[in-house]
């Protein structure tokens, strides 16, 4: 009797067994992992999609892209964009989650509306903000005229403002999403913990540091991973907004890889740049996994 119960119990842990992961595993292996590895191999060859004959060229592609000054500019821009956009997104996200923490009538509607900017695709957001930054029909021109100006020019064409303007579009799309994702975690912090911090007389920032952040650490790290990877790999929005210009003031590694491989048909260099970018994201990912593990320990 005990025996007959034990067998279905152990089987019941996974009704379909490991067969259940086969479709998902196959799709990911064939369409993601295999192409990524082929791409990695390609970076050590001179192969192109059109050419039949190819040779191993060792590190020549990497030497070529590292000698190219645009690559440094592109990675510098991505880093700057990340350093500007991500802290702003996290602070807005946390602040909004704090404001929406306690229930009030209409809170669920407000929470869904936070998703609105993210629902606009990066391409559509690019087209939209191209016009919103326009001196005649845009918001910046309207505000400039309201303050007595003549509309001004588009900040996207100004080398000093271009990257900041791109960062603002990024913040517009991602900060409300961060708030949306952080809200359940922040709401779940028990009121008692917050009251205790308040009784101790701690000002707002200390309450966050002592009572809230430690409780949502894993969630916050996960949102950070999403935001950092998003801004490091920014591509479609910039393609429409500035095309990387003026000059290379808003060039990013993903856009540079795409330009090299697809537009100038330099396939080996394009894949090499895209793998350098992937390595940067994997390094961020490794840091994330490590920090999560520290969290669990």
């Amino acid at each position: 009797m005990i025996r007959s119960l034990r067998i279905p119990r152990s089987a019941s842990r996974t009704p379909l067994g490991w067969v259940a992961v086969v479709p998902a595993g196959l799709l990911v292996l064939v369409f993601l992992v295999l192409p990524a590895l082929i791409g990695l191999f390609n970076t050590f060859t001179d192969s192109t999609p059109e050419g039949k004959a190819w040779h191993i060229v060792g590190l020549a592609n990497y030497r070529a892209v590292l000698a190219d000054s645009t690559l440094g500019v592109a990675f510098g821009n991505a880093l700057l964009l990340t350093l500007i956009a991500v802290p702003v997104e996290v602070i807005i996200g946390l602040a909004l989650a704090g404001l929406l923490r306690r229930p009030f009538p209409g809170r669920s509607t407000v929470r869904v509306l936070l998703l609105a900017p993210w629902l606009v695709s990066p391409i559509a957001a690019g087209v939209m903000w191209h016009f919103l930054y326009n001196s005649q029909v845009g918001i910046t021109g309207w505000a400039n005229r309201l303050l007595g100006g003549n509309g001004g020019g588009s900040p996207l064409a100004d080398p000093r403002w271009a990257l900041l303007s791109v960062a603002l579009v990024e913040v517009w799309r991602m900060a409300p999403l961060a708030a949306f994702l952080l809200l359940p975690g922040v709401s779940a912090v028990p009121q008692d913990d917050l009251d205790q911090a308040t009784v101790m007389g701690s000002p707002l920032l200390t309450t966050w540091r002592v009572a809230i952040i430690p409780r949502i650490r894993a969630l916050l790290l996960t949102v950070l991973l999403l935001l950092v990877a998003q801004s490091l790999t920014t591509f479609d929005g910039i393609l429409v907004l500035t095309g990387g210009g003026p000059g290379s003031h808003t060039m990013t590694p993903a856009l540079y890889a795409y330009t090299l491989a697809v537009e100038t048909h330099n396939w080996p260099m394009g894949t090499a740049v895209s793998w350098l970018l992937l390595l940067a994201v994997l390094a961020v990912g490794a840091a994330y996994i490590r920090l999560l593990r520290v969290d669990a320990a």
């Binding site: 119990r9 009704p15 067994g17 309201l146 591509f235 994201v281």
Partner: protein, 271 residues
């Protein structure tokens, strides 16, 4: 104390209103332009009209077929992603295999990896497999791209469903597939819908993947929009605004319909 509370309530309202203006002003600005109106000082100028919205095919004749093609690709890819992710997430939620703990954050890292790194060679793979430019080729690739995130999200939901539920069904002699579809799915439906909606939006907005995998036509909307924008820089704002409003409408509609499910979205590595 009550005075302090009153003030904190005041600042809370100010903050929430400011956030909503920040989120929605660009979209409302676009909607107003699509309806033929233009802010001038503190008033709206122009005449309300639906002509920009209804006349969208005059400047983009293929708009309707592009819209339909994007919708078909996104729906098929979402169905495939969820269909493959659900059983996988269930196994990962129930197994005690070592390595699952390490696999889950790795899936998330895979989900945020730059598409360009595998998208370029993927177009070669699809050429070699005869899938390049086909509906199936785009659907399979899109489904695979969203799979890591979908599995990660769904597992978070399935961990919350008590084990005893499916264990009891197995004891009653139900087959694996029956347990999954008749016992677990109804309980996990909210999570499946929330995940499906996020995946649909991501699919609907894909740009780089279709650019690399389809030879136009037929084009998907983001690709058509970018091509049009790149080659017609003198595009009028009301026409562009109308195209934008129609192009974002399906994502808004889906989220609006599924808002109850999205309200319970769990985005936490600890489930």
């Amino acid at each position: 104390m009550s005075k302090r509370l009153k003030w904190s309530g005041f600042w809370r309202v100010v903050g929430i209103v400011a956030a909503l203006v920040f989120c929605l002003l660009p979209i409302v600005w676009t909607l107003v332009a699509a309806l033929g109106l233009q802010p001038d000082g503190l008033r709206l100028q122009g005449k309300f009209t639906l002509d920009n919205l209804t006349g969208i095919t005059t400047f983009e004749p293929a708009f309707v077929s592009e819209f339909a093609y994007t919708l078909a690709v996104s729906l098929a890819a979402t169905a495939l992603t969820i269909g493959a992710a659900f059983p996988a997430a269930f196994w990962l939620a129930r197994t005690s295999s070592p390595g699952v703990a390490a696999l889950m954050p790795t899936l998330l890292v895979l989900a945020v990896s730059p598409l360009i790194a595998y998208g370029l060679p993927l177009s070669n793979v699809e050429h070699a497999a005869g899938l390049y430019g086909s509906f199936a080729g785009l659907v399979l690739a899109s489904a695979a791209v969203q799979l890591p995130l979908a599995v990660w999200l769904l597992r978070g939901y399935l961990l919350r469903i008590p084990r005893s539920l499916d264990e009891a069904a197995v004891l009653d002699g139900a087959s694996g597939l029956t347990v999954l579809l008749r016992v677990v799915l109804p309980v996990a439906l909210g999570g499946v819908i929330a995940t499906g909606v996020l995946v649909f939006v991501l699919d609907w907005n894909l740009y780089l993947l279709p650019t690399l995998l389809i030879s136009h036509p037929p084009e998907v909307l983001p690709v058509a929009m970018r091509d049009f924008f790149a080659f017609e820089r003198d595009l009028e704002w009301p026409s562009a605004a109308a195209a934008l409003i129609i192009a974002v409408a399906p994502a808004f509609l889906v989220v609006f319909i599924a808002q109850n499910a999205l309200e319970n979205l769990v985005f936490d590595p600890e489930g």
